[in-house]
Symmetry: C2
Subunit: 614 residues, 2 copies
């Protein structure tokens, strides 16, 4: 992919919009908040007996049927009234500095997104974070919104009763039949969930991350010194959320990253995460040894003011941990981890992130930026999984979690990486134990190292399993992992793969509503409602295209067979014929007996059901 | 994919040949059998300190560098001398009948493969099957070959000692440090493994399927009434084995299937499985009610004489089980299962497969066709997983396993299907318990129903898990599952996905040699040996192509960074720099002390390793 230098500098003009095939965007409100507009995607089915299926939707306004997007204006301010009601003083804010965009020359500068927002900052003694509100027993509008969103209309789909459709094994999680705002509050207050929502990101559609909610998926985007520009990154954001990314991390490391980030934030309906050390390093010409607390602190403020919702902070990489990596096969593979390790070792000094952790908390609290405590020493290979370095850092992350909570901050914990299947559960169990059940957020893990080009799959296996065991959010891996930066197709493949993993985990945990969609697909499949099967799938376009490769005619979409077996060998057709025989027998039996009740009695006899009428 | 009718009839002319990029085919012999030529694929690495990595290779002669293939002659007869030495009487064999090819008219007939072989049949009282030899304590040449193949040269790679590189949790399997011919024999004798090898398939390169061996992968090919012809099916066979299919099932259901099968068998280095009921149904014009024992028996003999190595026999679908499926969401989804259910119900009679099971065993024994006892009532949706119908059939399969063993036959058991993660282990545990540890052979299972178009992934998750728990062979699922017949790309994607699942399972079980390849990839990755990383991967072509999309220049293949992070942010580069510092310090310390021993003592101090020299 060779991008023309000029294109890399252009301001984003347009992005992918319009509904996902076969569905429409709907908004609904909880009874207590009739003005609230909580998004869902609704898939209407062709069988009148089948209720439409409502699915979780993280795609923002972009998937409305008639939407007109002006990227320069940014998205509607979903949270503005709520935030405005909390009494934060507007502030002037930090002036943009040349180094924020990598000291790029005027002719190579990407212009910032011109959308203006009121800039806010919380004060000491005031509730700012969702954690502080929750601890005080206060239910915020964000909690109401996120709770309603989690239920997937299951009050209706499950017939109004708190009927648990699913069995499952949740390994000690406490998944409720229905999610109430109070439940969201309590989970946040216990530290078991976070609601990442910077007070300077009013465009966010609130969502909650925790073991007792639907498993979430994060997609990474971001330019590097080598490839890609502003327009491409905004499109990746919109594209990733279209297919189901619940949050997006902007991992840009090249120039213009301040201004590219402004386009991303003003146009993102999902929480945005970053790794501030990347930009800090850019500001010191890429030399880790020049990093210091001052430049890092300034970067935190810069990004918090822009509205970033969560920061990866690698404060668990301590001086004493680094020698533990010396005998590893793949050393330190986290960028942030290796930067900090180098910094610590060069001066034989303790990490400034660890030493200034209190101050980091104070800054992040003022904007409600959530912590994503980075796993800088995560294993980069099967050989290094679950080793002393990894677990020493995890212990430190547990210690830091408690400090951040004391400071009023929301916290989640990052996890590996590369882990063979038999070592995955140990990661989850240890994380729950040492981090006080703070949400776990893992990258994969990849269950083998031998398939570069297919690491969405090597890691999708591990992600499904660790999601089942209790991980709250899964960071996607694309087919290009280890090989190059993902393009648009890779982003989609990565997101869909991780939606599969997350959903498989929800099913296995026994999420009360997860099975609704599986059962709808299965009924559509069995009834040969091809269009319904396509529309209910995670990727209707691909399902339809694959089908049409071998049976392209419209008539075949209502045909009671498909190209796999042809009409004579279709097991579903044969089984349907069986059922028709049963129904015919039922009708005949009913007529003969003249009494429906007696017929049902007879038919309840089981095996006799199928005896052909003589 | 629209194939011209003429092309569908053409005899296969050529197939894909040549080595997989970055590797060469090698043959090696166990010390006891110096004339034996057991195939491996060897990947030489660019670092002279790195030994070449030898990997399992199911691709047959097609991947030799200088191979000339004549499909009309068929492959070399690997087993001919061994089989000839066992005293089987050559027989005339059954004459080909018009219905064997679907009564196709002369102008629509695919010509049969002209390669001629001696046709053999075992007698009563003579050892025919590998099971019979094993029970008698005899080690066959096939067992020697398969044992040597399983070791992956690990005697050498692990330094000659039986050092177990891997930890793992095998759930009670008994994986040996080294596989001996006697171990293979004992596993076959206990019924815990099969070595599928029809005495009329001398082209087979022997391999073993069992819980205590490497996890195997099956790929399905086959034409249907709707699509594809002879040349395409032979190419799919060669293509599937090229990427790692250990066995191939020919699920053809259209016309010409007898003759297409002759091309497949004469040119297949891997065991071929079929589902004879499909062809039997073709012979009675596709009407299940016209099936009877006579036509089925005749089909068994027809296919056994051709050399098919294992038959799926749906003898577990009994009349009494069928009503158990009446309330299912997706009824009966196995083609064989639905055919037999319809037959049973129509006459309210017991399955002729069940009633004639003794005779089926007698026929299969005479040629050493292994049983693959079909799961005709496997669940076709998450909703139907682990239900009464499924487990009732499994109980019957356990009963039939013991009968088949008594008759001298080899047996494996087919398993589901669609199963959420939390119900997978129950399948494995129950199968082990009721089927006397006969090898389990599962289709996936798919862990969710909501992703048609991506069912290689939904099922790859389940396959990795059930492989870990003890499944011996995984039947692949392609991206086209539920939507259409797989093309060449789909076959490759399916096979690679399942090789990932199988390898992840081997790692998690603690297979002694599995980790060699992962570690080699990881070292190559950490050393920026890009070509080695590509060549060691399951699919070197894709890995290389993905890398080259963003960094196409040759120089970048030795560059110490990649497009993901660029040179400044490369964690591996930073960690390497750290190690260089350590080495420099080592050298300096050594020089200063004048004594290497003292230096090593000092360096063993751990954290102090990294103190910069003042």
């Amino acid at each position: 992919m060779n991008i023309h230098p000029k294109d890399k500098l252009a301001a984003p003009q347009s992005v992918t919009t319009g509904p996902i095939a076969g569905s429409r965007k709907v908004y609904a409100a909880p009874a207590s908040h009739p003005a609230m507009r909580v998004p869902f995607r609704e898939i209407a089915l062709s069988d009148p007996a089948e209720a439409p299926v409502r699915v979780y939707d993280a795609s923002g306004p972009y998937t409305q049927a008639d939407i007109r997007i002006d990227l320069k204006q940014g998205l509607p301010l979903v949270r503005e009234a709520w935030i405005a009601g909390r009494g934060f003083a507007p502030v002037e804010g930090r002036a943009v500095k040349p180094e924020d965009n990598g000291n790029v020359s005027a002719d190579a500068l990407v212009e910032p997104c011109p959308a203006t927002r009121v800039l806010r900052q919380g004060r000491d003694g005031q509730f700012v974070t969702q954690y502080e509100f929750a601890r005080a027993g206060i239910v915020t509008e964000e909690m109401v919104y996120a709770a309603f969103r989690e239920n997937l209309a299951r009050e209706t789909a499950l017939g109004g009763a708190a009927e648990r459709m699913a069995d499952g094994d949740s390994f000690g999680a406490a998944i409720p039949d229905f999610v109430t705002p109070e439940f969201v509050r309590d989970e946040i207050a216990r530290g078991r969930a976070i609601l990442p929502a910077n007070i300077n990101h009013p465009e966010v559609e609130p969502m909650v991350i925790g073991r007792n909610f639907l498993v979430k998926v994060n997609a990474n985007i971001g330019n590097s010194a080598v490839t890609s520009g502003a327009a491409e990154e905004v499109e990746k954001l919109v594209w990733a959320t279209r297919w189901g990314a619940d949050t997006v991390m902007d991992l840009s490391t090249g120039r213009n990253i301040h201004n590219i980030r402004s386009w991303i934030l003003r146009n993102s309906p999902v929480p945005i995460g970053t790794v501030p050390i990347y930009q800090a390093l850019e500001k010191v010409d890429g030399d880790p040894l020049k990093l210091d607390w001052a430049v890092f602190k300034d970067t935190l403020v810069e990004q918090a003011e822009q509205g970033v919702d969560y920061f990866t902070i690698h404060a668990g990489v301590r001086l004493a941990h680094v020698p533990l990596t010396a005998q590893r096969v793949t050393g330190i593979v986290s960028r942030g981890g290796s930067i900090m390790a180098r910094w610590c070792l060069a001066g034989h000094r303790e990490s400034f992130l660890y030493e200034h952790f209190d101050e980091i908390c104070d800054i992040m609290r003022r904007y409600d930026v959530s912590f994503s405590l980075g796993d800088g020493l995560r294993p980069g290979s099967i050989a290094d999984a679950n080793d002393a370095a990894q677990f020493a850092e995890l212990d430190t992350l547990g210690e830091l979690t408690k400090i951040a909570w004391d400071k009023g901050c929301q916290v989640m914990i990052e996890g590996p990486g590369h882990v063979p299947m038999h070592k995955i559960k140990q990661n989850m169990d240890k994380q729950l134990a040492v981090c006080g059940e703070a949400p776990f957020y893992t990258l994969g893990p990849l269950t083998t190292d031998i398939a570069p080009g297919y690491d969405h799959i090597t890691s999708g296996i591990g992600a499904a399993m660790i999601g089942w065991f209790g991980t709250a959010m899964l960071c996607y891996v694309t087919p290009k992992e280890h090989l190059g930066l993902p393009d648009r197709d890779d982003v989609k493949t990565g997101v869909i793969t991780y939606r599969i993993a997350a959903h498989a985990a929800d099913l296995a945990k026994g999420h009360p509503a997860a099975k609704i969609r599986d059962d709808a697909v299965s009924r559509a499949r069995f009834d040969f409602r091809w269009q319904d099967q396509f529309n209910l799938s995670l990727d209707p376009d691909t399902a339809r295209a694959y089908h049409d490769e071998t049976l392209p005619k419209d008539a075949h979409k209502v045909a009671h067979f498909c190209s796999m077996c042809g009409p004579k060998f279709c097991s579903m057709k044969i089984t349907q014929d069986l059922r028709q025989e049963v129904r015919a027998m039922e009708a005949e039996a009913s007529a003969q007996a003249g009494m429906a009740a007696k017929s049902r009695e007879f038919l309840a006899g089981g095996g006799a059901l199928y005896v052909p009428a003589e």
